[in-house]
Symmetry: C2
């Protein structure tokens, strides 16, 4: 049985790069592709970056309880479909999800064995610096920093806390978390035990 690994991180924490590296390192770890009502950007492909659906389809999926978690962000809907996750499990994969704290909570409710990892920047000052380098608006930066503070206050809902002060180190640590989780006695294939 596969395991869901949820990564939550404030923007500017290097989450996208971390996810890419994890997927590259672990052939049995796959990103779950989200559904969204947002229009595709240039270069984005349906079924690869997202499943692009219109609002009516998305709302029907909500009604049918097809999502483990969904959220509205700046007027667009984003959701993680149970079917997508189950298909990944059935083909022998673990699942990586890149979602925020609210989504993480919902995942844990439906999949209690899922593993929640929170990635922190080295400090708020460092995060502010990184967001300024990206030339984000002052108001956006303020909003993001407040969101981080709020998320950090709830860090205990996460199983693990990784500080990204060094990208290579952070990636290694998350790879270790994934390796360790697969070695837990409750995750071990019963067949191995029966062989003794």
């Amino acid at each position: 049985m596969g395991t869901i690994f949820v990564l939550s991180a404030p923007s500017g924490t290097g989450k996208t790069t971390i996810c890419e590296r994890l997927i590259k390192s672990l052939p049995n770890l796959k990103m779950s592709i989200s559904h969204t009502t947002r229009k595709p950007r240039i270069g984005e492909r349906d079924g690869v970056d997202y499943f692009f659906v219109d609002r009516e389809v998305f709302e029907t999926m909500i009604k049918n309880n097809d999502f483990v978690e969904w959220a509205e962000v700046y007027g667009n809907f984003y959701g993680t479909s149970k079917k997508v996750i189950n298909e990944l499990f059935q083909s022998g994969n673990d699942v990586l999800l890149d979602i925020d704290i609210q989504g993480a909570k919902n995942i844990k409710k439906t999949y209690p064995d899922s593993v929640l990892i929170f990635i922190l920047p080295p400090s708020l000052e460092e995060l502010e610096k990184r967001l300024k380098q990206r030339k984000e608006e002052i108001d956006t930066i303020k909003m993001r920093l407040n969101k981080v503070k709020e998320e950090i206050s709830q860090y205990k809902i996460y199983d693990y806390l990784v500080i990204n002060d060094d990208l290579d180190k952070a990636v290694k640590e998350i790879l270790c978390i994934i390796t360790a989780e697969k070695l837990k006695t409750n995750k071990v294939n019963q067949q191995i035990i029966n062989n003794f």
Copy 2:
């Protein structure tokens, strides 16, 4: 606060080599030195390999509740002293213990945060082969194989299960377990959170 990592493994599973490699890799991980009533063998040093004490001293320590766990093996006493563990914690270390399932259970009772790791040979056939290579007596081998079966039947008291079919891989996996355990939100230094 330090963490206790318990390694249990049938003889012939490579446990001694694994412990040596772990200690070499992690400067803050120390083996706890046991007390024993066994006589020192040539080359063994008091306070390094064991604390060598006589039976009377050991029995007084039992009465004083000085041991987290102790056992009698072939007429000799072996025990893990609480004072030794606490001193390792106070100097900022994690503790590695090499003890059997009964000892592991007692450690978990006194230190509920301790992490129990069980190392398995690739198969019983492989273990039998390794024990025969060591030229162990047939009766000893039979007794050890029966003990392994009994221990494996209780594997669920352990947190993690590592199969030593490749020494380098097994060491890496245990290093990952130790890394991951130190990243758990309930082990993270509260100071880190307060900085945000």
